[in-house]
Symmetry: C2
Subunit: 144 residues, 2 copies
DNA sequence: CTTATAACTGATACTTAGTATCATGTCAGA
DNA sequence: TCTGACATGATACTAAGTATCAGTTATAAG
């Protein structure tokens, strides 16, 4: 089943309607790169209301099919993802994203719990770097 | 030397002026709890211009005496801190913050680098939980 | 102590991200 | 096909932050 079908299914399962607008927005979302903003979406759907897209992003978050990526400057971008809790490894050059959750955050958290007496209940982690493709390109770049 | 003196020193060292407004804003900042917003500051200094406080927060970031705390909802708060790169452990109940940097993020980063072929250049980590004080209080809370 | 001037300030207007309201439109089941 | 709850778009609003600009002030050279 495609991500798109999955979203449709979850929508109806929860009593939400499949409208023409929702279908159009979803079509745009699946065509988007790894992460995007609401304005990226609006630019491709000028006749769709701003509030509608924001409402939809919130809905999709409730349905656990989008997450938010924290950029290094502190701004938040959206990303289609049907994973539960996970983290992002974002390429600074091309914006490509790797989701990961099989990480060793838990050991870090245990260290912290021991040294601080906090009871730890959540965390947010984003990692930034450059993907192999972009690193390979750098060597051959004009002027490099 | 107090944090406040340190800031003054760094300001003059970089050719910035010590003005009455800056002194007043700094006084408020050091009196603030672990993290705060610009509007928290403005509420205590109604005659200081909004832009001035934002300008000052940016300046203080350049001087490495404030950092930003990512709250769980995605909003950013400010925090006075003269540390370099570090992370936050934020109490969900009282807002208390522990800075930490002696963490095991580097091993996590190495794992990631090995499994993804990304060259890793940065990260952002925030941890949320409840401090020992708030946990102790819970047991004695009315109605608990 | 002046004075020149670069730095600083506050007001205002603007931007970006997101929420609230509300009249109109439409999906989907009876 | 009827109907009402759900969805939509326009509009206006909030919150965080930036840009502009005319007026003020710190500071250091004289
Ligand atoms: Zn995790
Ligand atoms: Zn890349
Ligand atoms: Zn606490
Ligand atoms: Zn670190």
């Amino acid at each position: 089943m495609s991500d798109l079908d999955l979203v449709m299914q979850r929508l109806t399962m929860r009593g939400h309607r499949i409208t023409e607008t929702r279908r159009r927005v979803l079509d745009v979302l699946v065509s988007m790169p790894a992460h995007f903003t609401v304005d990226d979406v609006l630019r491709q759907l000028p006749d769709v209301g701003r509030a509608t897209v924001f409402r939809m992003m919130k809905l999709l978050q409730d349905l656990n099919v989008v997450c938010r990526v924290l950029m290094e400057d502190g701004s938040l971008h959206y990303r289609l993802s049907t994973r539960g809790h996970h983290h992002h490894l974002v390429c600074r050059d091309c914006g490509k994203v790797e989701d990961f959750s099989n990480c060793d955050v838990s050991s870090l958290v245990q260290q912290l719990a021991a040294s601080t007496e906090y009871e730890i209940e959540g965390h947010w982690l984003e990692v930034y770097g450059r993907c192999s493709t972009c690193r390979a390109l750098e060597g051959t770049a004009v002027g490099a």
